[in-house]
Subunit: 102 residues, 2 copies
DNA sequence: TATACTAACTTACATAAAGTAAGTAAAATG
DNA sequence: CATTTTACTTACTTTATGTAAGTTAGTATA
């Protein structure tokens, strides 16, 4: 086993190849969203969404904001690092338009 | 559950979010390769690599060529559809260089 | 006041996916 | 004839994900 692949690229792929991560980021590109809204828009279970959002927060890709209104509102949004993934998502979008059938 | 996401994009993400798929494609961007070479370069197990290559072949992203030499040589390479994923990979590469530490 | 409802989770349990290691077949090499 | 290599497959274990129910806090409804 002699890995020749760039460790940074490998790490990046490690994120994106976790189920739902890409779709969560893609969804947040259109603006801050609440937990239940992400949940229903992509169809991920609450259990996994909660896990993913924590991981993405730890990686500095997503941030969690608490608005102390009544009732309290919690919003998730992309950090700079997260927004920087937009070109990746746009290329994915193009590829899917050009090469995939519905 | 009211999914608002583009089904093609969702499908594309479905591929890339399977473990190893992205790295296999990335590896094949540098040219045709044999089974054991992919296996050792990215560190995937033979069991999963075999599964992924079959899936990618069925999707028309990868093709399998058998060269009837002695011993027989089997090479995997990207189809047009597979090569079309290069921009996605390049953007991933850029992002990983700019935002990830080793 | 009791009941129900919503958001944002967590917990417990079941199923699916991936890892590990050994096995197979066909040919080449020592 | 025994061993090695390539390209897999099979059996079994561990990890990841899905499902469904429960929790906490506040809001609305009867």
């Amino acid at each position: 086993m002699d890995k020749s692949i760039c460790p940074r690229f490998e790490k990046a792929m490690g994120f994106l190849s976790q189920r739902w991560t890409g779709l969560i980021i893609y969804q947040l590109l259109s603006g801050p969203q609440r937990f239940c809204s992400i949940e229903s828009s992509i169809g991920v279970s609450g259990r996994v969404l909660s896990e993913r959002l924590k991981d993405l927060e730890n990686e500095g890709i997503v941030k969690r904001d608490v608005f102390p209104e009544t009732p309290v509102r919690i919003e998730y949004s992309l950090t700079k690092k997260g927004v920087a993934l937009e070109p990746v998502m746009r290329e994915m979008e193009k590829w899917s338009q050009n090469w995939l059938e519905i």
